[in-house]
Symmetry: C2
Subunit: 412 residues, 2 copies
């Protein structure tokens, strides 16, 4: 099976020597590593978080940090702390389905704004929020994965980030910045995080709630993430956490903090980046080589994901059983919209994750998938074909013109 | 500081050799230990849970088990899955304050039934539920720590357990059996768990939702607990968990499962039991030696806790700053009642945890505490003194008779 589905990092890159060093932290710090810890995380772990954020150009203090049981818990705590039934939340379309799941427990009214090649369409955000304000409603928060977005791989442009901060201030909304992939850039210059931009402008965290994760830059098995926010927001989330758990695994924190203290992580991240870059190139190359005309895809500069748009009328969810039978797994596009598999959005799209499969295998996976798509296109009397898009320019078959606006619905 | 406050196990007993063996599991199983795992826990971990429950006389199958991020998450998931605002929940009085916190997030109506030396007063439970039924209400669940209860140390008698199962069936309520201490018995015969009794009677889990924990029998730092329940209940809790997290630390599970697989845990539990027994005896001995007449306490056969009742009028929460200043920490009794420190219940009670402090230190701590209580009694024009209770018999000062009914309010 060529696994192009889940956002699994490659953890095989840790050598036995590294694992031995990590494990020795448990021996050295045994009684403490096995004991209860603080709900907000150990002091050493919060310092580690500050170091990692600083490395991405977001210098922060450990006092603004709380460690969570994975970034997923951060999403849940945001919902728990800020959402009442019927509250307005604005999300990207498409977006990370785990966020949809986390928020939906709290019964909010979810509105969506499209993502295009330059990230969240902030003009659409402004329009939606202004319209809602006239109707007497205010969004509690805007949820965004601005860098190497899940699922499109798109990165939000700097001027859009600035504008989003302004819009959030105008409308008194929080911004939930979910940034698990920011340190995994394979080319080009880093774009500052929303948290960094706000801190530069305002001198400290204000309305950006930053969610970080150790799953992609280190290891998902430790189930560690974090929240960076203004003390009042952190306090509200701490109150919401009360009774939910007694904090993240201290054993995980001990091992993780020891690994980062060794300094080895920067070298590791470099190796990881080179490896993922090759895998991305293999997937993009294979898409160009094997996919029929009428199929388009994104070209991310980092992260894990490529978003593939098939000609309209092809149902990616419906095609999945056949694909897995032939040995390739992906996630259907509908997963990343509030309507899910029952909805209409994203039906002809799918997400490929290039983080886990080796280049040769990934290439073979895309080839299999392309064969299947060709068959479906033959079966299928569809409407206009989708655009053929390179990394910047989109073009259509003769006689069509291109409606490029949203990554998920590129069509001629 | 003599720490008689939190329910901290002694994790110093693990030798370096044992720690080294545990850590080697990470090296041996590296890539998998660092990768994402199933939300319900790894297969090996669920088998480990089945082995541990079987060792306490509750033979179960791994298919009825889900691993949680500590038993605390199990409590939260029970609230999340079963409680709507205003739903009725019946709890012990006093009870574990973490459970109060977990349930209170979901806004239930909480009713309490007293705990005495033989555990939860099931006749009181029957009366409350019948009364509620006449008013048109049904309890969603009854929350109980039947063995070495937190905070009283009381163990529910076998016939009461049988009766509670019957009452729950009659009233169509679930029973949440929270059992972190069951394997830590220092004398006497084990009483079957509610889960075991139900399975014997009905052939499988039905309405008992069993919450287990690795915090007391192994290590709180791994943050691992579990739920054992009927597949439908497990399914409802799994649905409630969706979006809340992506499962417990795989690293923690790898280390824990490897430790239990070595078989060493039974020997370890024996050593732990002998150690805790000595500490319990030191605390009980010191209470008898130093406490003035009018103070009573429980004599648990296992677990971590002794519940001390001071003469009425003495405020254990108010006394705490002075106690810590003199070098001894405990938890005020009011913490274990729904009203908390603002309420009236448990004001003259406190919980001593004997798990963490060495005998000599624990003895010194109780001596300090007794001195403080003597001073307060001198300050204080109180009503009738509390009973002086041995492990089975209570007696009063001349001229008084004893109202023994409830552990928290023993008085003359």
């Amino acid at each position: 099976m060529v696994f192009l589905a889940g956002g699994h990092p490659d953890t095989s890159i840790f050598g036995e020597e590294t694992l031995r060093e990590m494990a020795s932290a448990v021996v050295g710090d045994g009684a403490a590593a096995l004991q209860y810890g603080s709900t907000d995380g150990t002091g050493v772990m919060r310092e580690t978080v500050a170091e990692v954020m600083t490395a991405e150009g977001t210098p922060v203090g450990a006092e603004h940090v709380a460690v969570t049981s994975g970034a997923q818990q951060g999403l849940d705590l945001a919902g728990r702390a800020f959402l009442e039934e019927g509250d307005l939340v604005l999300i990207e379309s498409p977006t990370y389905h785990g966020a949809l799941q986390a928020f939906s427990s709290y019964g909010p009214r979810v509105m969506t704004a499209p993502v295009d090649r330059r990230g969240l369409d902030v003009e659409a955000v402004r329009e939606i929020l202004s319209h809602e304000r006239r109707a007497g409603y205010r969004a509690k928060f805007i949820y965004v994965v601005p860098t190497f977005q899940n699922p499109t791989g798109a990165t939000m442009a700097l001027e859009r980030r600035r504008e989003l901060l302004e819009i959030a201030r105008e409308h008194d909304a929080l911004i939930l910045e979910d940034n698990p992939y920011g340190l995994l850039r394979y080319e080009g210059d880093a774009v500052p995080t929303l948290a960094a931009l706000e801190m530069r402008e305002r001198g400290g965290p204000e309305r950006v709630v930053y969610l970080g994760s150790f799953s992609k830059v280190f290891a998902p098995g430790v189930r560690l993430g974090w929240i960076h926010a203004h003390p009042e927001i952190l306090g509200a989330m701490r109150a919401a956490r009360k009774g939910a758990d007694l904090g993240p695994s201290v054993l995980s924190q001990t091992v993780t903090a020891a690994y980062f203290a060794s300094g080895e992580w920067k070298t590791y991240l470099g190796r990881l980046g080179r490896r993922y870059r090759k895998r991305r190139d293999a997937v993009l190359g294979a898409l160009g080589e094997f996919m029929p005309e009428g199929v388009s895809w994104t070209s991310p500069s980092g992260g894990f994901f490529v978003w593939v748009t098939l000609p309209q009328g092809i149902d990616a969810a419906g095609m999945l059983p056949e694909a897995t039978e032939r040995g390739v797994a992906y996630v259907p596009g509908a997963d990343f919209y509030p309507g899910g598999w029952g909805g209409t959005e994203g039906r002809n799209a799918l997400r490929l994750s290039f983080s886990f499969a080796e280049p040769r295998l990934a290439r073979r996976g895309v080839e299999i998938l392309a064969g299947l798509v060709r068959e479906k296109m033959g079966d299928n009397e569809t409407g206009p074909p989708a655009c053929g898009c390179g990394s910047d320019v989109c073009s259509c078959a003769p006689g069509y013109s291109c409606t490029e606006a949203v990554v998920g619905v590129v069509a001629c």
